[in-house]
């Protein structure tokens, strides 16, 4: 169960995993996610379903190794299994023919954007994709985006690849150049989504964002994933993860995402050695 059939790095810490999960592959819609656990003492973490192949019964996850669990996942290879995999969870993305849609991904957020860009394209939109990263290596899925977008703009903070600047700078440039935009979808670090929302609010462009709070069960049972949207408490796992960007309280989301920072660092340190040992073992 949950066997990995393909595992390869897309960037330094970003790994693509294709996993056998026929029921999830059959049912998932763009915008949905899974909850995964790596081992019996593992935590439950949400991961967006970046792509799926119903016929082959596989789903694709793209994981940025930043915490203990994501780093551990990124040591897995083809043939390994995940302990648990549950899904698809969350509400599917709002896919319509808006006209021209700009899809913006920051870092691993591009993995969230990809399936939605693909679906927006199938729905008849003119799709412009912006995939940002710190440097050339952290821009992911550029080739995949080219196949399903009408225009693609990689952006890097250091100018090592594509447009030199932030994704929002590119968005602003498009707007200034008179590009007609009917819909924007963004996913990435909270400050990035907040900045996108601030720009599109000014131009009154309908904007969707996919939120990434800390989750436990992913089924609405714990309320740990709560966020403030339109001044109401929502449970991101069952009410979202996609929301109207102009109604999201990003500041609260950002503070909540820091809740376990200390513990996570401690745990990461404690396990870093273990991970390294593990990796050495694999190489040997």
């Amino acid at each position: 169960m949950n066997t990995i059939v393909e595992a390869r790095f897309l960037g330094p810490d970003t790994k693509l995993l294709r996993i056998v999960a026929p029921p999830i592959a059959r049912k998932r819609k763009p915008g949905q996610f899974v909850i995964a656990r790596v081992h019996a003492e593992g935590e439950r973490i949400p991961l967006t379903i970046a792509d799926a192949d119903a016929e082959q019964g596989t789903i694709t996850l793209i994981v940025l190794g930043i915490g203990k669990t994501t780093k551990l996942i990124n040591t897995l290879e083809a043939g390994d299994c995940l302990e648990d995999l549950a899904g698809p969870l969350g509400q599917p993305s709002d896919i319509q023919n808006f006209g021209t849609a700009v899809c913006i991904g920051g870092g691993v957020g591009t993995a969230v954007v990809f399936p939605i860009a693909k679906a927006l394209k199938s729905a008849g939109n003119y799709v412009i994709s912006i995939a940002g990263g710190r440097d050339a290596a952290s821009v992911i899925l550029e080739n995949e985006l080219r196949q399903i977008s009408d225009e693609v703009y990689p952006t890097t903070d250091d100018g090592s690849h594509g447009f030199h600047g932030l994704v929002t700078d590119k968005l602003q440039e498009l707007i200034d150049a008179g590009q007609r935009i009917d819909y924007v979808f963004a996913s990435g670090p909270v400050p990035m989504m907040q900045a996108v929302a601030a720009i599109t609010a000014r131009y009154e462009i309908k904007t969707g964002v996919s939120l990434n709070p800390i989750m436990v069960d992913g089924t609405g049972m714990c309320g740990g994933c709560r966020a403030l949207v339109n001044n109401q408490t929502v449970f991101v796992c069952v009410d979202g993860p996609e929301f109207d960007a102009h109604q999201v309280d990003f500041d609260t989301l950002m503070l909540r995402n820091r809740m376990y920072r200390e513990q996570e660092e401690a745990s990461l340190d404690a396990h870093q050695c273990k991970l390294e040992a593990h990796a050495d073992m694999r190489r040997a």
């Binding site: 029921p23 999830i24 049912k27 949905q32 909850i35 656990r37 003492e41 593992g42 935590e43 439950r44 203990k68 669990t69 302990e83 648990d84 995999l85 549950a86 899904g87 698809p88 969870l89 436990v216 069960d217 089924t219 609405g220 049972m221 714990c222 309320g223 740990g224 709560r226 966020a227 403030l228 408490t233 449970f235 069952v238 609260t252 503070l255 909540r256 820091r258 809740m259 376990y260 200390e262 513990q263 996570e264 401690a266 745990s267 404690a270 396990h271």
Partner: protein
């Protein structure tokens, strides 16, 4: 001892169940109650005067034949005693530990009119533990396979007991569970110190032996819909519980350090956050902290006592009525007090206050008084104008109950629910508005008890059996 006179029986004092010392147990997660030994159980059983018209049975939601099983304990025929209980209660080791006996069987026991009732719960637990430890959970006779297939959704007490009865009736049963572990609230909610996981696991293992198939990580509605289940099963039982925590709807609920009881308990019990970083799930560091728990039910008691075990300096129940109205089992309140839990009564939180980094620092409380009884028959708490108080706290846990989870109703349009989202059933048969679909437990009643969920699962099993025999009559 079998031929004691009535007077002699009445003179036996209620036998106390041995417990871990309070000082000791607040530092561990092991079970608080240690259970009777054989002699104590037999002595306690001898207190039962074997009423001609036993009132205790009427007090039991599933009508266990209490005097009969107690008589068998007197005769030390424990195997048969277990069989008697199991006719009506499929989860006696669980119910013996967590039922609110003081408002059920023990409330109606005639001895309670003059003194202390027979310790029916402790005896039930003794018998169930004896069976599990001495002979293993017995596999009752199973009927010939019927060739019918039933899907049971949810592995809490409702789902487990429904699966148990259906498999013994000869139907093929598959249980679908959204989480990675089986047992529902019994494993993610109720802590180890009250209900050891091993007790629940033994029940699950027994069902596994009987031939029930289990599918974890399977969310009905998402992984497969109820309609899709109906295409490959002859009937569906929904025992999905009441898992959608209520919040207070006051300012500050999004501060770090604020939890729902479900999240708090799930992190500790299911995800073993008490063992962080050996287990991967983190938890707010309770060491030497002040913790406030809002609510007065079993869940609130579980959270507040868990907090002490995680090292909290001060753990306080903040409840808006008085002690007399606390909905928790009396034993939990007593244990909590022994362990050093503080009770602030007649207070209601109106604001949670935090620092600039989004961490909780204090709670503003409104002092309350009791007014006239409300719809529930309990006196309604009313704010005393102008009397508020701010108390510094580091963590707050909201334990004020659960609404119903929206996943199944949202994905099953023709399933009727009431305005709180609870599935509507015929109470005699547990049939829903949708042909072939039955429901029971907390998803129907709202948050209730293990015994009621178990009872509902069994009524549903019987009615599913009737339906499978006569599918045209709906």
């Amino acid at each position: 001892m079998a031929d004691l006179t009535l007077k002699e029986r009445l003179n036996i004092p209620r036998q106390h169940i041995p417990e871990q010392d309070p000082q000791e147990r607040v530092r561990n997660f092991q079970e608080v109650n240690l259970g009777y030994d054989e002699e104590t159980a037999v002595l306690e059983a001898n207190r039962c005067i074997q009423c001609k018209k036993p009132q205790c049975v009427d007090g039991c939601p599933v009508l266990v034949d209490i005097p009969e099983f107690i008589q068998l304990v007197v005769e030390r025929r424990f195997r048969e005693a277990a069989a008697v209980i199991k006719k009506d209660n499929t989860l006696p080791a669980v119910c013996g530990r967590v039922c609110p006996q003081e408002v059920q069987c023990e409330a109606t026991c005639v001895l309670s009119k003059r003194g202390e009732p027979v310790a029916i719960g402790h005896l039930e637990r003794y018998v169930a533990d004896w069976e599990r430890e001495h002979i293993g959970i017995q596999i009752p006779e199973k009927r010939e396979p019927t060739g019918k297939r039933v899907a049971v959704v949810g592995s809490g007490p409702a789902g487990l007991s429904c699966a148990d009865d259906l498999i013994l009736m000869g139907h093929a049963v598959t249980v679908f569970e959204a989480l990675h572990a089986l047992g529902g609230v019994l494993v993610y909610g109720i802590p180890e110190f009250r209900l050891p996981k091993a007790v629940v696991q033994a029940e699950v293992d027994a069902l596994d032996q009987f031939g029930v198939e289990f599918r974890t990580n399977y969310i009905i509605g998402f992984t497969e819909t109820v309609d899709e289940l109906l295409a490959r099963f002859d009937a569906v039982f929904l025992g999905v519980g009441a898992g959608l925590p209520y919040f207070l709807d006051i300012p500050g609920e999004h501060l770090n350090g604020v939890y729902s009881a479900n999240e708090y308990l799930t992190r500790v019990n299911l995800m073993k956050a008490y063992d962080f970083p050996r287990s991967d799930t983190p938890m707010f560091d309770m060491q030497d902290k002040n913790v406030a728990v809002f609510g007065g039910g079993n869940t609130a008691m579980d959270v507040v006592r868990t907090s002490l075990r995680l090292g909290a300096k001060r753990a306080v129940i903040m409840y808006r009525r008085t002690e007399a109205e606390l909905p928790a089992r009396i034993e939990e309140v007593i244990h909590a007090k022994e362990e050093g839990v503080e009770f602030m009564l007649l207070v209601s939180p109106i604001e949670l206050i935090g620092d600039e980094n989004g961490w909780l620092t204090s709670v503003r409380l409104q002092h309350m008084e009791l007014g006239a009884p409300d719809a529930s028959g309990r006196r309604r708490p009313l704010p005393i104008e102008g009397q508020t108080e701010e108390i510094p706290i580091d963590a707050a846990v909201i334990a004020i109950g659960n609404g119903s989870n929206p996943i199944i109703p949202q994905t099953t349009p023709d399933l009727e629910v009431n305005r709180w989202g609870n599935i509507i059933v015929d109470s005699q048969t547990m049939r829903t508005s949708k042909k072939g679909v039955f429901a029971g437990g907390d998803i129907v009643t709202g948050g209730a008890t293990v015994i009621l969920a178990m009872g509902a699962g069994r009524i549903a099993a019987k009615s599913i059996n009737d339906y499978l025999n006569h599918p045209d009559v709906w």
